[in-house]
Symmetry: C2
Subunit: 160 residues, 2 copies
């Protein structure tokens, strides 16, 4: 079958600035960021209808990775105590998953509940309603799975 | 200890367009994209010195997720045969990990070999030298690890 082409949503200008347009938007009952308790929240990812065909085949995966831009975050940290907790070591922003990053790009691996046309239904996404979605990727063990990994001990003290 | 703040590299304009500035750049021996054989390639991720402190503590992780922008990709596909192979089903771009995406954001989970000031050394990154880096996240099983996942059978026929 022949490749169907589409328009890029992104571009780079002469100064190296990368411009992205949202692919879609998240819809759920969450109005403001909160730390724990995302596990059972169901979110609809509504993408631009022009890109709906791009979801064909995604139903065959159990998990997807939602890439989004954290538009509600308004602090940028270089170094801090993760989750604002003094009992957790003082580390750089690239040594934790906190949202106060120089580029507010986030990615969350979640359970795919279903797809209908241009809408995905997912469970466990830590996102506020209205958040712009940049990309959707299928969770693929060959790329994403790490057998044995090491993390610092303090990570296990965080709230997830 | 007190939070050290820094400047955002990103912003959103009134039309909803998200603008990102690269955090750094990838340096390795790879001049053009190629499919397999990334496993043993060593890449240096050189970040802007202003953000070097943000890496403090990353040495304690075994794996990191590099988020980058695929500036060398110049086709946008809505639906295609992944890896251009007719023996693989015809699926949407969001049902595969191919680079021809509307927003050319990529993320790769790789082994962290070491860090020196503003430079990370990683192994297995599928990236061309000169690629702009957007973010660096520590691989954190609580967020990234999926116990049992399902993927379509054709995924196992791809080249990794």
């Amino acid at each position: 079958m022949k490749t169907i082409f589409c328009e890029f949503l992104d571009s780079q200008d002469k100064k190296g600035v990368i411009k992205l347009k949202p692919l879609g938007v998240a819809k759920n009952q969450v109005k403001k960021p909160t730390l724990p308790g995302w596990k059972d929240i169901v979110t609809e990812i509504v993408i631009d209808k022009k890109y709906a065909l791009g979801l064909d085949g995604i139903e065959d995966y159990s998990h997807v990775i939602i890439v989004y831009w954290m538009d509600k975050e308004n602090e940028c940290h270089l170094k801090h105590h993760p989750q604002g907790r003094e009992d957790i070591p003082y580390v750089g922003i690239f040594a934790c998953r906190c949202p106060q990053r120089p580029n507010r790009i986030a990615m969350s691996t979640v359970t795919l509940l279903g797809r209908k046309n241009n809408v995905l239904k997912v469970k466990g996404l830590d996102i506020v309603s209205g958040t712009p979605i940049l990309d959707i990727k299928p969770y693929t063990p060959q790329y994403d799975k790490v057998g044995k990994s090491k993390v610092p001990k303090w990570v296990n003290k965080l709230v997830f």
